[in-house]
């Protein structure tokens, strides 16, 4: 599979030029883009000369990429370090940047967190390496997330176009049709919980990532940033109101399982039918296979339910990129690795390992789309995910301090899950906290 797609990639001219002659492209490409040639040959020279780089990432498929890369360039040593997942790693990264030592060359950063690091001037602008020409190579959601104005702060590693995973066995048993709108979803939730008081349509205990994704799908743009001027609108934004309208009902009627995602109870619930659906990113299948083994064959993927009947709007949830640290030592090598992993051969290795790509060529490749998922009863789930990826609204943006905002999400919105506070009230309290923090950090928020 690897060699085949490698050939397929060769067919894509633009990709080849963009790949900076790392591996697949011949020297003829060098003439095509004169300015890049210099850089391309610089990179080749660096790779030839060798050296070592440190990569901080928790993405499991990178292990394979690193070993392939080292095989291809025997003089390059890549030290792959899992410095924690998400926030833990950002904290470590921030500490290292501040201390000015121990900064890795490459770091995994989720899309929602990129703004914070870009703004802190910790990241290298990759357009220097010609990465600004990759726009068409990636699906729009991820690409928008890694670019700020003309700067490219990272290469998209994977993406999380959302889909609704559902336990077909459970829904069939209670003769509930697969919901296609959120209103139908609500009906399904009621019917299911009525038929089996132990079963819930889904679990939710308040999750910032999920909530913002839902607002995103509803066409909301609650966060807007222009330079250091930020507006936060979690009250009147149309996406916010559309989301709370549906979700408040689910909450009021106790139709959401109070199970924390990723806990062992959650894995249990996914396996035994307690949790009947899960709306999340396309990276989820790998977790189903490894964590919910016993329910193999029960689950299917479907398009995300719509806010409006017949709508074709989706959203992104999760997904991350690899960025180059400004304080890194071996930038050329670091970039060469980044490109290998996210724009060249590494992508195939990662897809084979279960990752969901952000590269448009793969998202439209027949091999990819036709891959059957035995876990989903042989369903060609990638068709759904790829379709979802093309339906993501492009005008969304996160706060430039989203990491902090998300970390205090449950302080305010969480109350809606354990008390009489409504979601709308919780979201407004969250807005208050975000506004105060932003202003304290020197932004001009809602002024």
């Amino acid at each position: 599979m690897r060699t085949m797609t490698r050939r397929a990639m060769r067919g894509v001219g633009l990709l080849c030029a963009a790949a900076l002659s790392l591996t697949a492209c011949g020297s003829s490409d060098d003439d095509a883009a004169a300015e890049k040639t210099v850089r391309g040959s610089d990179l080749r020279a660096a790779l030839k000369e060798g050296g070592s780089i440190t990569v901080w990432a928790w993405e499991p498929t990178l292990k394979q990429v690193v070993s392939d890369f080292e095989k291809e360039y025997p003089k390059v040593k890549v030290k792959l370090v899992n410095a924690g997942t998400g926030n833990d790693q950002y904290t470590a990264l921030q500490n290292a940047v501040q201390a000015g030592s121990g900064v890795p060359d490459v770091a995994q950063v989720e899309y929602y967190a990129l703004g914070q690091f870009a703004l802190g001037k910790s990241l290298e602008d990759l357009s220097r390496y010609g990465a600004d020409e990759f726009k068409d190579d990636y699906s729009p959601g991820p690409w928008n997330s890694v670019t700020v104005d003309d700067a490219v702060y990272a290469l998209p590693m994977d993406s999380g176009p959302m889909a609704m995973f559902y336990n077909k066995k459970v829904l069939d048993k209670h003769q509930i049709a697969t919901p296609t709108t959120w209103d139908e979803y609500l009906e399904a939730a009621r019917a299911l919980h009525k038929a089996d008081p132990k079963a819930y349509i889904t679990n939710d205990t308040g999750d910032a990532g999920f909530t913002t994704s839902m607002i995103w799908q509803a066409g909301g743009t609650p966060f807007k940033t222009r330079d250091t001027e930020v507006t936060v609108d979690l009250a009147a934004d149309k996406g916010v109101t559309a989301f709370t309208k549906v979700w408040q009902k689910l909450l009021d009627e106790d139709l959401l399982a109070p199970i924390e995602s990723w806990s062992d109870e959650w894995y249990k619930g996914l396996a035994d039918g307690t949790i009947a659906t899960l709306s999340t990113g396309a990276w989820m299948p790998a977790n189903f296979v490894s964590g919910v083994e016993s329910a193999s064959g029960d689950w299917r993927a479907a398009m995300l339910p719509q806010y409006e009947k017949g709508g074709e709007v989706s959203s992104e949830n999760g997904g991350s990129s690899l960025a180059l640290m400004k304080a890194g030592k071996n930038k050329d090598l670091a970039y060469a690795f980044n490109e290998y992993a996210n724009h060249a051969d590494g992508v195939q290795a990662r897809i084979a390992g279960g990752a969901f790509p952000a590269t448009s060529a793969d998202l439209s490749s027949k091999t990819f789309l036709n891959t059957p998922f035995p876990y989903f009863g042989g369903q060609k789930a990638n068709e759904i995910f790829a379709r979802s990826a093309s339906q993501v609204p492009e005008d969304w943006s996160y706060l430039p301090f989203q990491v902090y905002a998300n970390s205090v999400f449950n302080d305010s919105v969480g109350k809606a899950y354990v008390s009489d506070t409504t979601l709308a009230e919780g979201l407004q309290q969250w807005q208050k906290a975000a506004v105060a923090y932003g202003n304290d950090q020197g932004f001009t928020v809602n002024k």
């Binding site: 926030n87 904290t91 921030q94 914070q116 703004l119 802190g120 205990t205 308040g206 250091t228 199970i259 924390e260 990723w262 806990s263 062992d264 109870e265 249990k268 619930g269 307690t274 430039p400 301090f401 990491v403 902090y404 970390s407 205090v408 449950n410 302080d411 969480g414 109350k415 899950y417 354990v418 008390s419 923090y437 304290d440 950090q441 020197g442 932004f443």
Partner: protein, 306 residues
């Protein structure tokens, strides 16, 4: 003197020999400890104090702000809510834990138990369990769905309240902390009891005192020093409550806020919020509050003795 001095030290100023030579020798012994101590405690505290006069912004960088951070700390509702919460914890959990530890120690010391050494080691064992693991285990037990609480509900057809709900979570954390440290404190009390001179009992017995009387009149006063120091360390421990709520947070994010305890709050400030300057300020204020309470405990302990 703002802290505890073991009562024993007051007894003997070592006699004779040139005091200054001996004084230098004293520092030779205490010096290594204090040198490392200065590196890992005093220097970071001094650094924090320095940091507390500045502000670092994502936009605008670092600037000197004088006492602004302190003013903000005094007006910070979230901070004082956190202080209130650990105070409540302190007032309830510490006496319960120390009381139980004392009773167990007295029971062990009474010699009236079968299998004494089994009990001694059994009660002490939880201390060996890392907080990460302890919280994992209790997280299971508290589970209302698949956990033990859930099992009980199902088996008996009852509906116990959720231990991780906002109203109960502090008590549930108290239970974990008690479980972890009861044996540790028990051991301190027990070993203090072991060295209470037998002659004291004899005198009391001759006066016709019963066992309970011996406990209140002889044993407890005899180990007051141990009680005071255990209380002070427990007070400090309560004010620094962090591991248990922080790990349980992943199971009960809506009940345990990011400002649940002062320590959790400073952690959120400095780690998620990159507000190290303000976090340093809050920590220093918290340190002062803790010292005042510890001092009060000591004063009270000493007064009783007089």
């Amino acid at each position: 003197m703002t802290a505890v001095t073991p009562i024993t030290t007051g007894r003997r100023p070592p006699a004779g020999v040139s005091r200054s030579r001996r004084g230098r020798a004293g520092w030779v012994f205490v010096g290594p400890f204090m040198a490392v101590f200065a590196l890992v405690f005093l220097a970071p505290i001094a650094y924090s104090l320095y940091l507390s006069f500045f502000r670092d912004q994502l936009v605008g960088g670092t600037s000197f702000v004088g006492l602004d951070n302190f003013q903000r700390a005094f007006e910070d509702e979230q901070f004082w809510a956190a202080v209130g919460r650990v105070l409540l914890f302190l007032v309830v959990q510490v006496p319960v834990m120390l009381g139980l530890a004392l009773l167990i120690a007295l029971a062990l010391d009474s010699g009236r138990l079968y299998g004494k050494s089994f009990f001694r080691i059994a009660v002490f064992l939880p201390y060996a369990v890392p907080a990460v693991v302890a919280t994992l285990m209790w997280g299971f037990i508290y589970g209302t769905r698949f956990g033990l609480v859930g099992n009980i509900n199902e088996a008996l057809g009852v509906s116990l309240p959720d231990p991780l709900s906002p109203s109960l979570v502090l008590a549930s954390i108290g239970n974990i902390v008690t479980w972890e440290f009861i044996g540790y404190n028990m051991l301190i009390f027990y070993s203090a009891l072991r060295v209470v001179p037998k002659s004291l009992y004899e005198a009391a017995e001759i006066d016709g005192a019963g066992e309970w009387r011996v406990i209140t009149a002889v044993k407890i006063p005899a180990i007051r020093g141990a009680l005071v120091i255990a209380t002070i360390f427990s007070v400090i421990g309560s004010f620094q409550l962090f591991n248990e709520p922080s790990i349980l947070q992943s199971l009960a994010p809506n009940a345990i806020t990011t400002y649940f305890t002062p320590n959790l709050y400073t952690f959120t400030l400095s780690f998620s919020g990159r507000q190290q300057n303000y976090a340093a300020t809050v920590s220093l204020v918290m340190g002062v509050v803790t010292m005042i309470i510890a001092y009060a405990v000591q004063l009270r302990g000493m007064r009783k003795e007089a």
